[in-house]
């Protein structure tokens, strides 16, 4: 078992606290089948360092885990990590989590870039991402009113801390996914072919049962051009249904 990065410095009143979904991503990315897949794609010591992007880093626990275990996951130490989140408080907290996790390691370290405040991967240069990770807001619940985002995204003038209203808004952003819990994820899926690198780019997206994972996977395969989607991790089996799944999205060679 690889250690879980520490997030004890974070105030979880306005940043998503690591939960079953976060841990499922850690387990999946470090599972023997996924590390074998990733090492096979990216192990070449002569190839350029893979760039890992996590959208919606929250506490940063997932990105920090990748950043602190590149040798185990990729079989190399020159991995680059980059994150984004719509919540500016999460951006700062996550950057700290990643830096701390890397510092803790003596032998297995990667190169951390930054966490930028943005909508999904909208500021990412096309075709530059080798490994993409997303634990989206996936709960079928109404999206919060984004028109007041700017105001809620910073500490109010003359105040020392965020208000209760701000905190509830920011936490809603972390779980509420609109209809079928798929509104944010669908927007992200559209960007995936644009941001992934042509050679070997692969995406991991977490879904819950209400997101209808089988339908989502079929839709991805219907993109054509060799796009594949498979479940590579799951948790919370109930009456034959997995509560949470991690879907791997990639393009088959040829």
């Amino acid at each position: 078992m690889l250690p879980t990065p520490s997030t004890s410095h974070i105030c979880f009143d306005r940043v998503y606290e690591p939960a079953e979904d976060s841990y499922l991503l850690l387990d999946t990315l470090s599972s023997s089948s996924e590390t074998a897949f990733l090492r096979d794609r990216f192990h070449e010591t002569s190839s350029t360092p893979p760039l890992v992007l996590e959208v919606g880093v929250g506490s940063g626990v997932v990105l920090a885990f990748v950043a602190a275990n590149p040798g185990t996951i990729f079989g190399r130490h020159d991995v680059l990590t980059l994150g984004t989140d719509i919540n500016s408080f999460a951006c700062k907290a996550a950057a700290q989590t990643v830096r701390h996790a890397i510092k803790e390691r003596e032998d297995d370290r990667s190169v951390f870039l930054d966490v930028v405040n943005g909508d999904l991967a909208s500021a990412i240069r096309p075709n530059s991402i080798d490994v993409f990770v997303f634990n989206p807001p996936y709960v079928p619940a109404e999206l919060p009113d984004l028109s007041c985002h700017d105001r809620h995204n910073t500490i109010p003038h003359g105040k020392k801390a965020t208000s209760f209203e701000q905190d509830s808004y920011l936490l809603e952003l972390s779980y509420a996914g609109g209809e079928d819990g798929m509104v944010v994820t669908n927007r992200m899926l559209e960007q995936i072919p644009e941001i992934l690198s042509g050679e070997g780019g692969v995406a991991y997206v977490l879904l819950c049962a209400q997101n209808k994972p089988e339908v989502v996977k079929q839709r991805i395969r219907d993109w054509g051009g060799g796009w594949m989607a498979e479940t590579v991790g799951s948790s919370g089996k109930k009456a034959g249904w997995e509560k949470l799944v991690v879907v791997r999205i990639w393009k088959s060679a040829g």
Binding site: T45, D78, A95, L113, V116, S122, A123, L146, S147, H149
Partner: protein, 142 residues
């Protein structure tokens, strides 16, 4: 925010992405800070082919940093010449050259703490505050 990060970012406006002038973003009114980081020589060597060299040079110039070599370094440029050539076969740890140190300093230790990043295509200014760049557009938030 590290300068190497700029190698992977572009304007968040959809119609800008296909325009070459949207990359790189141009720092303006930037307050820089040096945040020391461990030099990872294999990383520097392997990242070279991924760097948009001319763009990195132009960003460094705009920030008033010491000039980078006009032509991208090759892996051999990153290794210090051994003091005693007869020791090279010993398999000892390879030492970074001055070029490697300079590159490391520019890409991974020079951070924009405050300022703006400006798109050369649409002119949009993205604020950087406390080292975090904000790429949210009003259009994202409807």
């Amino acid at each position: 925010m590290k300068l190497l990060t700029l190698n992977f970012l572009t304007c968040a406006v959809k119609t800008c992405k296909t325009q070459p002038s949207s990359f790189p973003l141009h720092p303006r009114d930037a307050e820089l800070e040096i945040i020391e980081a461990e030099l990872n020589l294999p990383f520097l060597r392997n990242i070279l082919p991924r760097l948009m060299w001319e763009d990195i040079c132009s960003v460094a110039r705009e920030l008033g940093l010491p000039a980078l070599p006009a032509i991208a370094p090759i892996p051999a440029d990153l290794l210090a010449a051994p003091l005693d050539p007869s020791t090279t076969t010993g398999g000892a740890e390879q030492e970074p050259s001055q070029t490697a140190r300079d590159l490391h300093r520019v890409l991974l230790e020079t951070c924009i703490q405050e300022g703006k990043l400006v798109c050369g295509c649409c002119g949009h200014e993205y604020a950087v505050k406390e080292g975090v760049a904000n790429f949210l557009l009003p259009g994202h938030l409807v």
